[in-house]
């Protein structure tokens, strides 16, 4: 009888283990240098992150918002500012985002630029090659060619014309990159704003929180 129970339980244990393993990979840290930074792959060999203070606590990261962000269909500065409490609210020692109006000491510069029609935005990280796994600064560029909205409208014209995108989701996603999160695959097993493309939510989800905590350590 006991053997029969064990036989029945084994497949269930295997299935549970499979899903547990999947959950462990439900976030990705930014990328091994030299690989395609856009790939949704786990970072296992060389992962990058912001430094912490000498007391192993969060550093403050000053974010400068260009006035160009206010010249789109929606004022993108609002969407960027709304990302700060979300990422700062993760219970971890991740960098604390705060706005600055000075360009003398900013770590993150946010502005607009012109990209190909099918690019929403881009985030660039800067590293000193002498300290290659620590992020020194970042820039976020929103594509001026996108029709920005706050209605979860993600579509592109069939004629190769402009594309529409929700500014709230794209801003939250880009600041996930700023924090050092990478992309995750776009399937239902992942509960993350770090999926690319259309989503019907625009705030960090469970897998994003888990990723930040795993990278920087839990706090308090």
């Amino acid at each position: 009888m006991r053997r029969r129970v064990v036989q029945l339980a084994m497949p269930l244990v295997a299935v549970a283990a499979f899903f547990a393993a999947d959950r462990a990979l439900a976030w990705n840290q930014l990328f091994p240098p030299g690989s395609d930074p856009n790939a949704a792959i786990p970072c296992t060999t060389f992962c990058v992150e912001w430094p912490k203070t000498s007391s192993n606590l969060s550093i403050n990261v000053d974010v400068y918002l260009s006035s160009l962000l206010g010249q789109q269909e929606v004022d993108l500065r609002t969407d960027v500012r709304n990302t700060f409490p979300q990422w700062n609210g993760v219970a971890a020692r991740n960098p604390h985002l705060q706005e600055t109006t000075s360009t003398d000491n900013e770590e993150v510069w946010v502005t607009t630029d012109t990209f190909a029609y099918n690019v929403y935005a881009g985030t660039s990280h800067t590293f000193w090659t002498s300290n290659p796994d620590k992020i020194k600064a970042a820039q976020v560029f929103f594509n001026t060619g996108i029709v920005w909205n706050r209605a979860y409208d993600f579509h592109c014209q069939a004629s190769g014309g402009p594309c529409w995108a929700d500014a709230r989701k794209v801003a939250m996603h880009e600041f996930g990159h700023v924090e050092a999160l990478g992309h995750v695959p776009r399937d239902a097993a992942y509960n993350a704003v770090m999926k690319q493309g259309a989503l019907t939510y625009h705030w960090p989800r469970g897998d994003d929180h888990n990723g930040i905590i795993a990278i920087y350590g839990a706090y308090p």
Partner: protein, 241 residues
């Protein structure tokens, strides 16, 4: 006697004019044989009012794209401070190959023939002064492309395009989808536009998307696809809706 001298002088003048005209015609014919510039969707890249001091402008109608110097005339200014690596991740919309074809002014399958040294893609070819602009999108390399097949537009056999990213001094600039280590002979499906670089350099096409081709397989943003699928998409995008 003076009459004969006058006639001889006139004859020499006429011959000289004819030789000059002949030389001009020969030069133009030669330029025409080498190709009339980057043909992208039937339109030419216009000259900018802000010519770059880093690389001379060459109007597409006055010479072959092969004559566009791939390297900057002067070495680009290296940013001060320690060596840095800049890596940019892009967010892409969900588009089809047909939409990408529609958006491009020309699409070719071609191989890299030669690659120029990286230079600033900024006004006047100068290094950006603002830290916020020192990014992979502000660096470019000119590449000479040997066109194997034109899927859209009317590109000549050899064209010059510019791709983002590269290395300036000890500073690396890497952008999603544009390999830092481009090598001669590598094949790509290249989507191009007529947009001139910020330097104002004319006669070069913007390569805004490049998918590696290995044999009959293309690596797109959505993974590997048979080349025939791309060719079919081209047919579909040209079909009347």
């Amino acid at each position: 006697m003076s009459r004969a001298r006058q006639l001889a002088g006139t004859a020499v003048f006429v011959v000289a004019v004819l030789v000059l005209i002949f030389a001009v015609v020969l030069t133009r014919a030669d330029a025409s044989r080498q190709g009339g510039g980057v043909a992208s969707g039937g339109s030419q890249v216009e000259k900018s009012s802000d010519p770059s001091p880093m690389a001379p402008e060459i109007a597409p109608t006055e010479g072959s794209p092969a004559e566009v110097p791939l390297d900057p005339v002067a070495p680009p200014e290296v940013p001060p401070g320690p060596c840095q690596r800049h890596i940019m991740t892009l967010e892409f919309a969900d588009t089809t190959v047909e939409q990408d074809m529609e958006a491009a002014s020309s699409v070719v399958i071609g191989s890299i023939e030669a690659i120029g040294a990286a230079q600033w893609n900024a006004a006047g070819g100068r290094a950006p002064t603002s830290r916020g602009e020192i990014a992979p999108t502000r660096v470019m390399r000119l590449v000479k492309i040997s066109v194997e097949e034109t899927l859209k537009g009317s590109a000549s056999e050899s064209i010059v395009g510019y791709v983002p990213g590269g290395q300036i001094g000890c500073h690396e600039f890497h952008l999603t989808g544009f390999p830092l280590g481009l090598r001669g002979g590598e094949r790509f499906v290249m989507f191009m536009s007529n947009s001139a670089p910020r330097t104002g350099l004319a006669g070069v096409a913007e390569v805004w998307q490049m998918w590696p081709v290995d044999g009959d397989t293309v690596t797109t943003r959505d993974g590997k696809k048979p080349l025939s699928e791309i060719l079919q998409a081209n047919t579909d995008s040209l079909a009347p809706s």
